[in-house]
Amino acid sequence: MNIKDIFTPFTVWSSVLKDPVTIKNPIGREAAPRYRGFHYNDINACIGCGTCEAICENQAIDLVPVEGIVTKSGDSGLRPMVDYGRCCWCALCVDICTTASLRLTNAYTWVDTDPDNFRFIPGVDKKDWDEVQLGWRKPEPNYSFYGLHRQHMGELHAEDRKSSFIEFVQGYSKEQAQQEADRCVSCGICVATCPAHMGIPEYIKAIRNDDMEEGMRILYETNPLPEICGRICTHKCEDVCSIGHHGDPLSIRWLKRYIADQIPTDVNTYQDILGTGNLAKNGKKIAIVGSGPSGLSAAHYLALLGYSITVFEKLPAAGGMMRYGIPEYRLPYDQIDKDINYIASLGVEFKYNITVGKDITLDQLSKDFDAVFSGTGLHLGRSTRIPGSDNENVYQSVDLLRDIVTGKPVPVMPKVVVIGGGNVAMDITRSMARLQMEKYGKVDVLATSLEDEDFMPADREEIVEAREEGCTIVPGYGPQEVVLENGKLKGLKVWKCLSIFDENKAFNPKFDSAQERIFEADMVIESIGQGMDLSYLTEEIKSKIEFNNRGRIVVDADYQAKGLPWLFVGGDIIEGPDVIHGIANGHRAAMGIDRFLNG
């Protein structure tokens, strides 16, 4: 120490002349633009998926029902409620929010005397900071808590696949399936939308755990046709998938197929896994008319309950539309057999080539059996009834598709026009392309639909794949006339479609005749929907049951026909064409039959 040390510290007095650094008005000073302050939720964008609740390490978030928000498909009707007695403002909830509706504003002042007030539903309970735009949002880009992009599904190249009916979707490898399953946030929004209410998050979890047997058990809880569904389901679940709001939805259908594909074809393995090797019979007999998805589903669940089942099928093999309507390249026959063989192994008896109504009457069935389930499906093609549609070269898609399967000779011509924009239309378009490839070595199929490209009822990937295979899709035109020249088919005249439905939302298309086009064709295939063939119902039965304004049989929640207790009806003739609906109401009808017979 020396004398300097006593005087040097006094140099700090130089600061006396400096301006003070004090903030004049500190209360309410604006925080940084990225500040993590109080929560705000855009409740209209939020779907109540609950990932915020799942990620919150403090259990600060509850999902609560909110007045004015209706529970519907794709929206649970719940909204997050935040407890500021728990929150630590880490904003993990914001970073994981699937809809990006939740954010933190940069407001930070909340003083209260009552500790119970610190609990609120952001966006619903009005707060001072609702209008504040600054604050923490999900960082962009390349920052996500789950994979945004789905695993690419291996497919045959378009050039290869269009020349044969070999299945072109190759299925996931184990790594791919696990990575895809890893994307799932297990919110469960999809379960309500799936008609069969399959335990989707649970079986995806089984894939993550690489426990295929557990996955199989979960699948068979609600769906006895996993191989089939894993390929051709309309996957309504994927449309509402929460992670699909920003990024690709999870490919739930392919994951289901992955589980089913891992199990060997052997029915004994199935029975071991599912524990159905030793079923007790209860002595009651059920007849099932039609071996489509609903019939098979009802047969499966009734067989599990111990009923003796007999399935009557008009055609020489089981599967209904799945076998005779869906082309082999989408759903190979051995996969159909795999599912059906297992159902048969439960003691279900199949009687083929028996047409109910012709070979055996429904009344007879009602006498021989305790109950009858009818799932006869939609097998009649609907005609456009435009001029010239009675020409011999105008065909129905369902007939052609069935003929392709049964091996009947199918007329294939160099230029084909398909009318329709649904999945069946795409099926026939692509099947015809393959047949043309076989016969002529080139593809010339054109499909036209009333709907615009964005509203075509067919699955998006079907349209894309059809185009890849060389087919032409021209959406937005309505057929007006089949152009004939000397009785020989020359083409199809179409007008631009302006609108499909009128003000009352009734089907009433409007056309612009100025925008006329003629598609040249040698054959025209109509694929605008199918109708049901209820000719097996006798007049007596028809008089007992009721029909609604669309001509469908009226059933109750158990799919029991109104007025005829022993008759249960399900499948496409109730719900319209969709395999998963058929499976769902086959299951419900089975439960209904059980309730009906056992009280």
Binding site: C49, D62, P65, K72, I189, G275, N282
Partner: protein, 211 residues
Amino acid sequence: MEHARLQLVNKLFNDRPKSYKYNLFQMKLLIDRLTQHYNLTDYKQQRHNLAFVTVDKQLSPDIITHLRDYEGFSHFVLLSCVDWIEDDKLQLTYLLNQPNHKYEIGVRVLIDRKNPEMVSLHKMWKQIWTYQRELHEAFGIIFPGSPRLEENFVLEGWTEKPHMLRDFDTKEYAERTYFPRPGRTSNDPATYMREKLYPNQPVTAKTNKND
């Protein structure tokens, strides 16, 4: 500017492997020397400068002394305990640092969980008694002779089982003891939607089985 930065990054990736390899080489030599003297039941090279060896309980004081006095592991990093409740074992990890070669070795000792007891090393480093006192409180391990072992460390008036054992459920204890604020309920979206949209539909298949 960008160029200079790239040069720097390149320098990094060119230089680093050399020191990595040197470290790894030194560690391999060390393990060779150790295996000559002691029976190591397990050895894992976690990183180029970090390895874990497992030794018997009786051997561990010897090997730690050997490492300190002959191998230059003069810096004691930490003493920790892991509860392997499934195997009924407690794993003690003595982490030692070699300041010259700049690598670390973790000596793992498995002891019985029912009767946890370990030799006290408080004479070897002057801070070890703190760790031992903490582990006594947190896991109930007894270190005979360790100073102030029975004194409270972080808790006061604790009557439950040692708090860091896996079978002590802290959430259950907190809820039982500290009155969480009532009035909170939450809903699972999937269950809630089922109750709202399709309350009566079957969700699982029933099976009628012969037993």
